[in-house]
């Protein structure tokens, strides 16, 4: 009985969300998200990616509850131990529990990824849409600046910035953010140019809308979806760059449990105690894979060419 | 012998699975075609294009096509192997689509594409294929075939592009040509000129033509017989000459709602759709 009424209620929600004549703004918006979710859900690999990313977030939020040890507690008597019931992933050369360090390290990874995304994506979006819509000399100036940034290899530029600013996780984030916005600006500009001359933009121009309004409320929403996809796909690269900086000693400083720095510390004992470097390596690999799968799935759902139609 | 139809379709159905269940786009239509010009007219969503595509088994996935009978000149098109279908497509049945720009390879000279189309089906030397392609360009009344032969698709106008498409489709000398809105993207005078070329070639070569269009007036004046489709069903089949005297309320509605130069400027009668049309076709 209760099962039946439950399914009926579920059906009611479904019908409400999929309604072709919504009765309020929110119903229309939620309905669109629901349809996007339905098509996302049918992609198993994307769901795996989402699962990995959610697990990363869960791990970061509940790190103190999950980690059995303090990530920085050194027990020199227990150094370089193999996998065991006490130390699931063994210990490093200071006798710190690797599992606990991985769990706490997820906070750093997430911190880096989120900060880079919220710094780089809006800069790229603003530069790209402005250049694309206004055209003329504004476009030329903004795009030449973008080209200058694109002309340097990403990691080399980040290295140069970090060595100028001084090593440390915040400086690493700033360096990565500064090196990752130019591709976003290019994408946003390319999209804006295809949108700029469409009839619906002409229509708002004929309603007397100013440039800022056209860019902000008519062009930006159409660029964001491809940008979200691109940023998600770039997450793996950002994590790897951060790990690379950590590995070179220019990112997070000891004793922070940053995964790249952990690999760097483990490389001295790679031949005899392989797990010390390998476990954080696997963590980086899984999280990068997760973001890539998620990005691929989002592309299928959000790609403006497929329209996200019902 | 001549009475035997070139193409017979019985109870053709095309359906697409969607999130909201199976959508039937074509719901059991039957028609037969001799060596004549048959027009299929309908509004968007009537299933007219899918009907044309079903004949060549070119319905896009995940569409499912079933038919009681789908026979072309003695060949059962439903049971034909993919290899047999390749033989039939192009060589015996050709198709011209609405926009030539999408159907032509943008990085190949148009003449070479026409020659290539010929050589796919006929084992002839290159020089012979080239000569045939030039003849064909002349046949679609292109004034300077040599120049057009060397042109790339982006260098030709819409009307020229559609003539090139027709040349390419007719060079293997097919028995049946399916033309899906072949001139809708063109200006009205160019459209008529292209149709005149098509008309002459079809008559000279004794081909069958399936002409799919939304333009009732054009089809009535161009074709021999007209099939009116609505919501995946055939509403009425009549001789083009007698279209003005058509009986079916849908056909009448379509004819009435057209504005005309001689009209009185009063409100146009609006077509009232009868749900019963969805259930009963011919």
């Amino acid at each position: 009985m209760s099962g039946e009424s439950e399914s009926l209620q579920a059906l009611g929600w479904r019908a409400w969300l999929l309604s072709s004549s919504p009765r309020s703004r929110n119903q229309a918006r939620l309905g669109r998200f629901y349809i996007a979710w339905l098509s996302f859900r049918s992609n198993h690999l994307a769901m795996l990616g989402l699962g990995i990313v959610l697990a990363l977030i869960f791990m970061a939020v509940f790190a103190p509850l999950i980690a059995p040890y303090d990530p920085n507690a050194q027990v020199l008597a227990d150094r370089l131990q193999y996998f065991s019931a006490e130390h699931w992933f063994g210990t490093d050369d200071f006798g710190r529990d690797i599992f606990s360090r991985i769990v706490y390290g997820s906070r750093l990874t997430l911190y880096i990824v989120i900060l880079v995304a919220i710094i780089a994506a809006p800069i790229g979006l603003a530069v790209g849409t402005t250049a694309g819509y206004l055209g003329g000399w504004v476009d030329k100036v903004l795009m030449r600046i973008t080209d200058i940034f694109l002309a340097f290899p990403k990691l080399v530029l980040a290295l140069a910035l970090v060595s100028a600013l001084g090593p440390g996780i915040e400086n690493a984030i700033i360096a990565i953010a500064i090196t990752s916005w130019p591709p976003y600006a290019r994408i946003a500009r390319a999209e804006t140019i295809t949108i700029r001359n469409s009839d619906f933009i002409s229509a708002v121009r004929l309603q007397g809308a100013g440039r800022l309004r056209i860019i902000w409320s008519h062009i930006v929403p159409l660029c964001t979806s491809s940008l979200i996809v691109r940023v998600t796909l770039d997450m793996a690269g950002i994590i790897l760059t951060a790990a690379g900086l950590g590995f070179l000693g220019l990112g997070a400083q000891p004793p922070l449990p940053e995964w790249g720095a952990m690999i760097s510390a483990g490389r001295k004992v790679l031949l005899d105690q392989w797990w010390v470097a390998t476990v954080p390596g696997i963590a980086i690999f899984i999280v990068s894979l997760g973001f890539n799968l998620l990005g691929d799935g989002l592309r299928d759902v959000l790609d403006p060419k497929s329209g996200g139609q019902s | 012998m001549t009475d035997k139809p070139l193409l017979t379709i019985e109870d053709l159905k095309v359906s697409f699975p969607t999130r909201k269940g199976l959508v039937e786009a074509v719901r059991g239509i039957s028609l037969s075609l001799g060596r004549e010009k048959l027009g299929i007219v309908g509004e968007s969503g009537s299933g007219k294009s899918l009907t044309g595509r079903s004949i060549l088994r070119l319905v896009p996935k995940p569409g499912v096509v079933t038919a009681g009978r789908l026979e072309f000149d003695g060949v059962d098109l439903q049971r034909a192997s993919e290899a047999q279908m390749r033989e039939i497509r192009g060589q015996r049945i050709s198709m011209v689509m609405q926009d030539p720009k999408f159907s032509l390879n943008p990085v190949m000279r148009v003449g070479e594409q026409i020659a290539e189309a010929y050589r796919t089906h006929q084992k002839v030397p290159q020089a012979e294929a080239r000569r045939r392609a030039l003849d064909m360009l002349a046949a679609v009344r292109i004034r300077d075939p040599e120049r057009v032969y060397r042109a790339y698709p982006h260098e030709v106008s819409g009307g020229m592009g559609q003539r090139i498409m027709i040349a390419m489709m007719l060079i293997p000398d097919p028995d049946l040509l399916i033309a899906d809105e072949p001139t809708s993207a063109l200006d009205v005078t160019v459209q008529l000129q292209v149709l005149a070329i098509l008309d002459d070639l079809v008559t000279q070569r004794g081909m069958g033509l399936v002409f799919i269009s939304h333009d009732l007036n054009l089809v009535a004046s161009f074709c021999d017989r007209v099939v009116i489709m609505y919501a995946g069903r055939v509403m009425e089949v009549c001789d083009a000459k007698n279209l003005a005297a058509a009986q079916h309320p849908y056909t009448r509605g379509l004819l009435n709602c057209l504005p005309s130069i001689d009209g009185d400027g009063r409100d146009l009668p609006v077509l009232k759709r009868d749900p019963a049309w969805m259930e009963h076709g011919l």
Binding site: S20, S21, P22, R23, S24, R25, A28, R32, S198, D199, F200, S202, A203, V204, L206, Q207, G208, A209, R213, S217, H218, P221, L222, P304, G307, Q309, S310 | E43, S44, G158, D187, V188, T189, L192, Q193, L195, A196, D199, H214, L216, N217, L218, A220, S221, F222, G253, L254, C257, L258, P259, S260, I261, D262, G263, G265, D267, L268, P269, V270, L271
Partner: protein, 270 residues
């Protein structure tokens, strides 16, 4: 001069020229076009693709700034740049209902936009009223464009143009992308709105029968120039003077194998 006629004309175009590109690539898209539209009339601009008919409309609407000549709308001489008040006077409906509505905005948002640009109050009432006027009920208000048919989209586009209560509507092939039965509905709607609101229309079309149905006066364009300006009565009596107009007329009557051989090529102007 003819003071009375001058005063009652809503749109007065004199010697309009539009040139695209510079130097060797220069294209004179519109050459010396002049016409006058009285208040409350519908004026047709007919021509084939590339005739410059849509370019004239874009110059009048303010979308295209690169024109020279004299354009007077509602008694005011217009410069290429328009101010906000101009758009309360003149609105436009585009050809392609699939391209003229923002794909990520609901009907509600599309109609809200002009109101908030011009700071109109009581948006709720205006949106509901205009939706009713174009024959769309409240159930359409929160739909996205992809949930609408072509005809419904075009009604939304008409509603968007009307919500600022303009006096002039520029119609750029408003029904050429629609099925004929839907075309009839939209044409009827436009006729009704014109009567109710006393609007002035300029209708651009390639379809002589649509123009004959809707307009009082029309100008036939070819190669950027007006080849003939005539009244609809003259068109209906099948007595246009210019051979190009006559040919368009023959062509619009349907397929006639014999007539086609007599077609001339008006493409290149001497």
């Amino acid at each position: 001069m003819n003071g009375a006629a001058q005063a009652s004309s809503m749109i007065d175009v004199r010697g309009l020229d539009v040139v695209f590109g510079k130097g060797a690539d220069e294209v004179r898209a519109v050459r010396d076009v002049s016409f006058r539209v009285p208040e409350g009339a519908t004026f047709g601009l007919v021509g084939e693709s590339g005739s410059g008919k849509s370019t004239v409309l874009r110059a009048l609407s303010g979308l295209n700034h690169d024109w020279t000549g004299q354009v007077v709308i509602a008694g005011q001489a217009q410069t290429p740049k328009r101010d906000k008040a101009f758009y309360k006077l003149v609105q436009m409906v585009f050809q392609d209902p699939y391209g003229s509505l923002h794909p990520r905005h609901t009907v509600d948002r599309i109609l809200m936009e002009p109101l908030s640009i011009h700071g109109f109050g009581d948006a709720e009432r205006r949106i509901e009223q205009v939706l009713g006027e174009v024959g769309l009920g409240p159930s359409f208000r929160f739909r996205y464009p992809h949930q609408l048919s072509g005809g419904q989209r075009q009604r939304v586009a008409v509603a968007r143009a009307l919500i600022l209560e303009p006096r002039i509507l520029l119609l750029d092939e408003p029904t050429s992308a629609l099925d004929v039965s839907v075309q009839a509905e939209v044409l009827n709607l436009l006729q009704r709105l014109k009567q109710e609101r006393g609007l002035t229309y300029i209708l651009v079309s390639h379809d002589l029968s649509v123009v004959a149905h809707m307009c009082d006066e029309l100008a036939v364009m070819n190669n950027g120039a007006v080849v003939e300006e005539l009244s609809v009565e003259r068109l209906k009596s099948h007595a246009p003077e210019h051979p190009y107009t006559r040919q368009l007329m023959v062509a619009s009557l349907g397929y006639d194998r014999a007539a086609i051989d007599r077609f001339e090529d008006f493409g290149v102007e001497g």
